[in-house]
């Protein structure tokens, strides 16, 4: 073996060793930085309703941050996050609670909201149409529904017994209000009620306990519009 060959071998050995050491260092660095992240965070896979939607996340005491477009795979510290997506004026949002070393998926639909205020539209009204044939206007029936809603905002079903509706006495020569009396139920809890009105817009609803006769609610749509 010539000295030149020996020198080449030594050089080759040194280069190989340097490359191996470099490889070990890089692998070690990746291992040391990746494993703690993997152990302290949770994986969140976000899919949205549009490929071009911007995905934003936030928390109670943090800035809102754009984290991706269309879909995203995120490593997040444990906690609850508000995730939202927006595309062409459409939005969708959801809450996601992240646990360490756990994967979660969030599929954001257009129009999805985390939290919404209930409205009278959330209540199933049965039998209220009968008031239209008893002299109330559509606006008054709408106000009546809002008054029932004001009485019990989390009611699921409010029923008016159509056969129970009777008109109260009214002197056509006087300015006394018109009245309608009826019975029904709010989520299966029976009530007696009186509607009074003097014009074609407003109504006043008074509810009574069907057993004791005690008044349990009394409000006009004018009050409801300004007080609630």
């Amino acid at each position: 073996m010539t000295p030149q060959t020996e020198r080449n071998r030594a050089l080759a050995l040194r280069l190989t060793l340097v490359a191996i050491v470099g490889l070990i260092v890089i692998f070690g660095y990746l291992l040391l930085t990746s494993l703690p992240v993997r152990n302290t965070t949770g994986l969140v896979i976000v899919t949205t309703f549009a490929t071009d939607s911007s995905i934003i996340i936030s928390q109670n005491q943090s800035t809102a941050t754009l984290v991706g477009t269309g879909s995203a795979k995120l490593r997040l510290l444990p906690g609850t996050y508000l995730v939202s997506a927006m595309s062409n004026g459409q939005t969708g949002s959801a809450l996601v609670t992240v646990h360490a070393k756990t994967a979660s998926t969030v599929d954001l639909k257009a129009g999805a909201v985390v939290d919404r205020i209930p409205t009278s539209d959330d209540i199933a009204f049965v039998g209220t149409d009968t008031f239209l044939s008893r002299g109330l206007t559509v606006e008054q029936v709408g106000n009546l529904k809002n008054l029932f809603f004001a009485y019990k905002k989390d009611a699921a079903k409010i029923t008016v017994d159509k056969s129970s509706v009777t008109r109260g006495p009214h002197d056509p020569q006087s300015d006394d209000p018109f009245t309608l009396n009826f019975t029904g139920s709010v989520d299966d809890k029976a009530y007696k009620a009186t509607i009074t009105y003097t014009d074609t817009e407003n109504v006043e609803l008074t509810l009574f306990n069907s057993q004791t006769g005690d008044q349990i609610f009394d409000q006009s749509s004018v009050q409801a519009a300004t007080n609630n």
Binding site: A12, G22, L30, L95, D115
Partner: protein, 147 residues
């Protein structure tokens, strides 16, 4: 001698090629080690500003607002054991209009349930707790759509 040199050179190239392949493999494994996810750390900010910025994003059409730089929260008023909050959103741009919002705490996190806007219809605010609804009425922010 030339043949020996040639052989060593070939061996060296093969070794370095192998090591390069291993390096690429390590770099490819790295995202797998993270489960494929991108690590995201949110910067700390004043309470509610993140959610308000997120809600403003809907209004401003994808232009994410920065708390402190683009807007500030004023007149923050809590109701019902801090379950409900009213905020006045003051833009730093003096030409931009002030807006208002109501947030509700759900599962430990606040989200905007009314606004951001300059006034709200009574159908929207009827579902708020009376205390919050009255506050908005007294602020002159509720207009009636029922009559």
């Amino acid at each position: 001698m030339n043949t020996e040199n040639h052989q060593f050179l070939r061996k060296l190239v093969v070794r370095l090629g192998l090591i390069t392949v291993l390096l690429l493999a390590v770099l490819l494994i790295s995202p797998i080690m993270l489960g494929g996810g991108k690590e995201v750390k949110l910067k700390s900010a004043a309470l509610l500003t993140g959610q308000v910025a997120q809600a403003l994003d809907r209004v401003h059409g994808g232009n994410l607002q920065t708390p402190g730089k683009d807007f500030q929260l004023q007149d923050v008023t809590y109701f019902q054991d801090k379950q409900w909050v009213y905020v006045h959103i003051k833009p730093t741009d003096t030409h931009a209009q002030d807006s208002f919002a109501v947030l509700h705490k759900k599962n430990g996190i606040y989200t905007v349930v009314v606004g951001p806007g300059t006034e709200f219809d009574s159908n929207t605010t009827n579902g708020l707790p009376d205390e919050v609804g009255l506050f908005l009425v007294h602020k002159g922010m509720v207009y009636d759509t029922t009559n």
